[in-house]
Amino acid sequence: MNLFSAFAAGLVFGVGLILSGMTDPGKVIGFLDVAGLWDPSLAFVMGGAILVGFFAFALAQRRAKTFFGGAMHLPHNRDIDKRLIAGSALFGIGWGLAGFCPGPVLVSFASGQEKAAIFVAAMLGGMVIYHAADRLIHEPRRRAA
């Protein structure tokens, strides 16, 4: 049941990404190009998603269990630190360069876009590099602490 609901959520999420225009990098860059010809559509994507998400998470935060009785895993980290800001800024630069972010590029990859495949490979590479570097740099420090 848990797997089925996760599959259904992914499917609805992906259809939403396509319908909204998020899988079109030209549209994403058009949104970020506030100094040129600006396409405000993506603000409507965020608005629509948060409109529903606000009530869903308000409900989730008041429940100890999911509707199927499973555990509720909500984020606990509240730190606003260098990692958060530097990481998000790096992500934003990559997002602005190609117009792809993780969800839309996976959907675009599944629809057979070769350029999306290149981006996905590089993105997974970046994640692997990050985890390897994190283990090398932070693991000895954590052990020493």
Partner: protein, 142 residues
């Protein structure tokens, strides 16, 4: 500021956004998980017991979306200007950045802002500003 009326799609974008919100609601209320795509994928690269099945199921759903969409409408042709080198650099930055900053447009932008999380608000402001600055440099300075 000039609005690009030719590409502006308020209604389909709003409808798509509502679907994304419904999907995030389904995942948190039925599976108890936050719909952050970079985190879901990142977790598959460092697999832990009991943490893989739901992630694979969600990604399988994402992959099935173009097929489901094709039943109802013809997908618009995406405009992808970036060449090979640019795609590699951008992909690496997105992979490293979302891991280091613990989230992307979905995790911080949609779910975090829905939870009114100050941490996610800062992250969203950071990637939005960095994205806007990058497009400004590439389109208007370079």
């Amino acid at each position: 500021m000039t609005i690009d009326w030719n590409h502006f799609t308020p209604w389909t974008s709003l409808a798509g956004g509502v679907l994304i919100g419904i999907a995030a609601a389904m995942l948190v209320l039925l599976s108890g998980r936050v719909a952050g795509i970079s985190g879901i994928v990142g977790g598959l690269l460092t697999p832990r017991r009991g943490e893989t099945g739901w992630r694979l199921a969600f990604v399988a759903g994402l992959f099935a979306a173009p097929l489901a969409m094709a039943l109802f409408a013809q997908a618009p042709v995406p405009r992808i200007d970036a060449g090979f080198g640019m795609l590699v650099v951008a992909g690496l930055l997105v992979g490293v950045g979302t891991s280091y900053g613990s989230g992307c447009t979905s995790g911080h932008g949609v779910c975090g802002l829905s939870r009114l999380s100050p941490r996610s608000l800062v992250a969203t402001a950071a990637f939005m500003l960095a994205g806007i600055a990058t497009v400004f440099v590439v389109r208007h300075l370079a």
